[in-house]
C-alpha cells in the first residue's frame, strides 16, 4: 500500500503550483485554473485521509467539494467571458471597473 505521506506530498506539490500560479499570473483563466489546482490538492488530501482511516465521510465530502468547484468554475468562466466581450481582454490588471 502506498503510504499516505506520498499522497500528501503530491497534494502539497500541486497546491504549491497552484499557489505560485495564483500569485504570479495575470490572466483570469490561468488564475481560475490555479484555484482549481489548489482546490483539487485539498480534495486529494481528503480522499487520501478517508482511505487511510477507512471512513467514507471524507470521500463524500470530496464529491461535494468537486461539485462546488464545478459551479465556481462555471460562474468564473462566465464572468470572464462577459468581461472579454466588454473589454477585449481577460488580464486582471485591466479589469478594475468596480474600483474607485
Amino acid at each position: 500500500m502506498i503510504p499516505v505521506a506520498l499522497y500528501l506530498a503530491v497534494a502539497a506539490v500541486i497546491f504549491s503550483i497552484g499557489l505560485y500560479g495564483l500569485m504570479t499570473q495575470r490572466s483570469g483563466i490561468r488564475i481560475l485554473m490555479c484555484v482549481e489546482l489548489m482546490l483539487n490538492a485539498a480534495n486529494l488530501n481528503l480522499v487520501a485521509f478517508s482511505s487511510y482511516h477507512d471512513d467514507l465521510t471524507g470521500q463524500v465530502f470530496a464529491l461535494f467539494s468537486i461539485a462546488l468547484a464545478a459551479c465556481e468554475a462555471a460562474i468564473g468562466f462566465a464572468i470572464l467571458m462577459a468581461l472579454y466581450r466588454m473589454k477585449d481582454t481577460i488580464s486582471l490588471d485591466h479589469i478594475n471597473i468596480l474600483r474607485w
Binding site: 500569485m23 488564475i31 486582471l92
Partner: protein, 670 residues
C-alpha cells in the same frame, strides 16, 4: 417692637419694590412709581428712627449677623456712619423718585426706569448696611450694574450705550483691585487662624478685621523690590476700588460721560449716592487706612489733585450736565482729601468727610434736579443756547442759586451762619491746613484752595450763562410741575440749613463710629502703627486760613459776574481754539484720547490682537502638524494598498507561512 429689628427691611423693601414694579409697573399709572416711592418712604422712616435712637446713644449700634457658609456671614450693621448714610440715601432717593414721576412722564418706559432705580436704591442700602467686606463687595457690584443699566437707559442712543459700557469697564479696573484687596485680606486672616476657625467667628466681618489690624500690619511682602506692609497693600487696593467708583483721577473719565443717562439718574447715582460709595468704603475701613503707612497720604494727594484737576475742566464745558459732572468729581476729591487728612486729625476726618458727603448729596442732587428741570422745560442742555431762564422758571432759578451758594461754601467764618457747603468744605480745607502743618506737605492744601476758586468760577459761570442775560435762542419753556418743584424746594432748604443745624453734632456723632459695642478701635494707637502724628483740631489756625476759602469763593463769583453777568471783560480771545490752554482744557487734557485711542486701541486692542495672533499661530501650527502627519502617513501607507488581489494573496500566504514556521520553531524549542 423695637425699630432695630426692622433694620433689615431698609434694603429689602426697595428690592421688593423692584420686583413688583418690574412686573406690574406697566399696568399702573406713571409706570408704577408709587410702589418704589412707598417702599423707600418706609425705609426712610425706619432709617430716621434708628438714627435718632443712635443719636441718643451712639454706642448701641444695630448689629445682626447670620452664618452664610463656612467662615462667612451675612449681616447688617447700623452704626453712626451707616445711619447717616442710610438716612441720606433713602431721603435723596425718595425725593428724586418723586421728582422722576414728573420728569419721566413723557418717557416710553417709565416702569423700567422705576424698577431699576428701586433696585439701585436697594443695592446701595445693602452696601451701606453690610457688616462684612464681602457683602459690601457684592452690593458694590450690584450698584455698578444698576449704574450701567441706568446710564444706558436710553440704549437706542449709541452715545448712551457707549457711555454705559465705558462706565462699567472703567469702574471694573477699580473693582478688580478691590477684590484683590479682599482676597489678600482673607488670605492673611485665614493664616492667622491657622486654618481652623471657631464657630461663630466670621473673618471678613469688620470687627474681626479691625481686631487683627496690628497682625496684618506685621506681615510684609516684597513688591517690585519694595518692602510693603500688607495693611498698606490692602488699603491701597481698596482705595483703587474707591478711585474707580468715586471717579478719582485717573479713573474719573467715565463720570462725565455717564451724563448720557436721564438727569434724575445723574442726580441719584452720579451725584448723591453711588459715586460716594468709594468714600464710604474708605470711611468704613478707616481704622485700616490709619494703620497703614503712606496710604492716607496717597488718599489725600489723589483727592486734592482730583478736586483741582476736575475743577479746571469744569470751567470750559458748555454742557450744563457736564459742568455738574466735573463739579461732582471735584467734590468727591474734596471728600477723599477729607479722609486723607485723617493722617493729621484722626477719626475726625471720617466725620468731616461724611459731613461733606451728605451736604454734597443735598446740594449736588439739587443742582442736577435744577438742571433736569431746565432741560425738561427747554429741551437743551447746551448753555450757549440758554440764557435768561430765571424769568421763565423762577423757582428753579432760586433753588439753583441756593445750591450754587452751598456748593461754593458761602458763609461767615467764626459764626454759624452759612450754607451747608460752608461748614463741611471749610472743615476739609482747614484740616488740609492742619495736615500741611503736621506733615510738612502743603500741596493738598494749596490744591484745595485753588479748587475752591475754580468751583466758584464754574458754577457761577453756569448760573450767569443759563439763568441771566438775554435768551440766546428762542426756546420757549415753562416752570416745571409741582412734583418737580417741591423736591427742589425741600433740597434747597436742606442745602441752605442742614449744615448749620447739624455742624456741631455731626462730626462727633460720626467720629464715634469706631468706638461702640460692635467695633472698638483705638485710633491713636493705630495711627502710631501707621506712623502718623495726630494733632488736636483746636481751631488755632490763623485768621487768614479761616477766611481764605470764602475769599477765593467770592473772587470766583466776582470774576464770573464780570465775565458772564455784566460781560465787562471780554473773554473771546481766551476762549478760542487758538489758545493752547483752553484747547487743552476743552479737550479734557486729551485724557480721553489717550485712554481711548492709545491705551484702549493701541495697547490693549493691539496687544490682544498680537497675543491672539501668536496663540492663533501656535494652534494653527499644532493642528497643521497633526494633519500633515495624517496625510503623510496615509500617503506612504496607501502604497501598500495596490488594489490587486494577488498582492494581498501573496501577503496572506507569506504571513501564514511565517506563522507556520514560527509555530514549528516554537514547538521544537519547547
Amino acid at each position: 417692637m423695637a425699630v432695630e429689628n426692622l433694620a433689615f427691611l431698609i434694603p429689602v423693601l426697595p428690592a421688593l419694590a423692584f420686583v413688583l414694579t418690574f412686573f406690574l409697573g406697566k399696568k399702573l399709572p406713571n409706570g408704577g412709581s408709587i410702589i418704589p416711592i412707598t417702599a423707600i418712604a418706609i425705609s426712610f422712616v425706619i432709617s430716621l428712627l434708628i438714627t435718632l435712637k443712635l443719636l441718643a446713644n451712639p454706642e448701641e449700634v444695630v448689629s445682626q449677623s447670620y452664618s452664610w457658609f463656612a467662615m462667612l456671614n451675612i449681616g447688617i450693621l447700623v452704626d453712626p456712619l451707616a445711619a447717616v448714610m442710610l438716612t441720606m440715601v433713602t431721603f435723596a432717593s425718595l425725593l428724586i423718585h418723586i421728582y422722576s414721576t414728573g420728569y419721566m412722564s413723557h418717557d416710553k418706559a417709565p416702569s423700567r426706569y422705576f424698577a431699576e432705580t428701586a433696585l439701585f436704591t436697594a443695592s446701595m442700602l445693602g452696601l451701606i448696611l453690610s457688616d462684612n467686606i464681602l457683602q459690601l463687595f457684592i452690593c458694590w457690584e450690584l450698584v455698578g450694574v444698576c449704574s450701567y443699566l441706568l446710564i444706558g437707559f436710553w440704549f437706542e442712543k449709541p452715545s448712551a450705550a457707549t457711555a454705559a459700557k465705558k462706565a462699567f469697564l472703567t469702574t471694573r479696573i477699580g473693582d478688580v483691585m478691590f477684590l484683590t484687596g479682599i482676597i489678600v485680606l482673607f488670605a492673611d486672616l485665614y493664616k492667622m487662624f491657622n486654618g481652623t476657625i471657631p464657630d461663630g467667628v466670621f473673618i471678613l466681618r469688620f470687627d474681626e478685621i479691625f481686631a487683627h489690624i496690628p497682625e496684618i500690619a506685621a506681615i510684609n511682602s516684597t513688591i517690585l523690590g519694595m518692602e510693603v506692609s500688607h495693611i498698606t497693600l490692602i488699603t491701597l487696593l481698596f482705595f483703587g476700588g474707591a478711585v474707580g467708583k468715586s471717579g478719582q483721577f485717573p479713573l474719573h473719565v467715565w463720570l462725565p460721560d455717564a451724563m448720557e443717562g436721564p438727569t434724575t439718574v445723574s442726580a441719584l447715582i452720579h451725584a448723591a449716592t453711588m459715586v460716594t460709595a468709594g468714600v464710604y468704603l474708605v470711611a468704613r475701613t478707616f481704622p485700616m487706612f490709619i494703620a497703614a503707612p503712606d496710604s492716607l497720604m496717597v488718599v489725600a494727594y489723589v483727592g486734592a489733585f482730583t478736586a483741582l484737576f476736575a475743577g479746571t475742566m469744569g470751567i470750559v464745558m458748555n454742557d450744563l450736565k457736564r459742568v455738574l459732572a466735573y463739579s461732582t468729581v471735584s467734590q468727591l476729591g474734596y471728600m477723599m482729601l477729607g479722609l486723607g487728612v485723617g493722617a493729621a486729625v484722626g477719626a475726625e476726618a471720617v466725620g468731616i468727610s461724611i459731613f461733606h458727603l451728605v451736604n454734597h448729596a443735598f446740594f449736588k442732587a439739587l443742582l442736577f434736579l435744577c438742571a433736569g428741570s431746565v432741560i425738561h422745560a427747554v429741551g437743551t442742555h447746551d448753555m450757549r443756547q440758554l440764557g435768561g431762564v430765571a424769568k421763565v422758571m423762577p423757582i428753579t432759578a432760586a433753588t439753583m442759586i441756593i445750591a450754587s451758594l452751598a456748593l461754593t461754601g458761602m458763609g461767615i467764618p467764626g459764626t454759624s451762619i452759612g450754607t451747608s457747603g460752608f461748614f463741611s468744605k471749610d472743615a476739609i480745607i482747614e484740616s488740609a491746613y492742619l495736615f500741611g502743618e503736621s506733615t510738612g506737605t502743603w500741596l493738598p492744601y494749596l490744591f484745595s484752595i485753588a479748587a475752591a476758586l475754580l468751583t466758584s468760577l464754574y458754577i457761577f459761570r453756569l448760573v450767569f450763562m443759563t439763568f441771566y442775560g438775554k435768551p440766546r435762542t428762542d426756546y420757549g419753556g415753562h416752570e416745571s410741575p409741582a412734583s418737580m418743584t417741591i423736591p427742589l424746594s425741600i433740597f434747597a432748604l436742606l442745602a441752605l440749613i442742614f449744615g448749620g443745624l447739624t455742624a456741631e453734632k455731626f462730626n462727633t456723632f460720626v467720629s464715634e463710629t469706631f468706638v461702640n459695642n460692635f467695633v472698638h478701635v483705638d485710633i491713636h494707637e493705630l495711627a502710631t502703627l501707621g506712623g502718623y502724628h495726630l494733632v488736636e483740631h483746636a481751631g488755632h489756625e490763623p485768621l487768614l486760613v479761616l477766611w481764605m476759602p470764602l475769599i477765593v469763593a467770592l473772587a470766583g463769583l466776582v470774576i464770573a459776574y464780570l465775565v458772564y453777568g455784566l460781560k465787562i471783560v471780554n473773554m473771546d480771545s481766551l476762549v478760542s481754539r487758538n489758545n493752547p490752554i483752553y484747547k487743552l482744557l476743552y479737550n479734557r487734557y486729551y485724557q480721553n484720547s489717550i485712554f481711548t485711542n492709545f491705551v484702549s486701541v493701541k495697547v490693549i486692542y493691539e496687544g490682544f490682537a498680537f497675543a491672539g495672533r501668536a496663540v492663533d499661530r501656535g494652534f494653527d501650527w499644532t493642528v497643521k502638524w497633526f494633519s500633515d502627519l495624517a496625510i503623510e502617513s496615509g500617503e506612504s501607507l496607501r502604497q501598500f494598498q495596490t488594489g490587486a488581489v494577488q498582492n494581498y494573496a501573496t501577503a496572506v500566504i507569506t504571513g501564514v507561512s511565517l506563522l507556520v514556521i514560527l509555530v514549528k520553531v516554537v514547538m521544537e524549542v519547547l
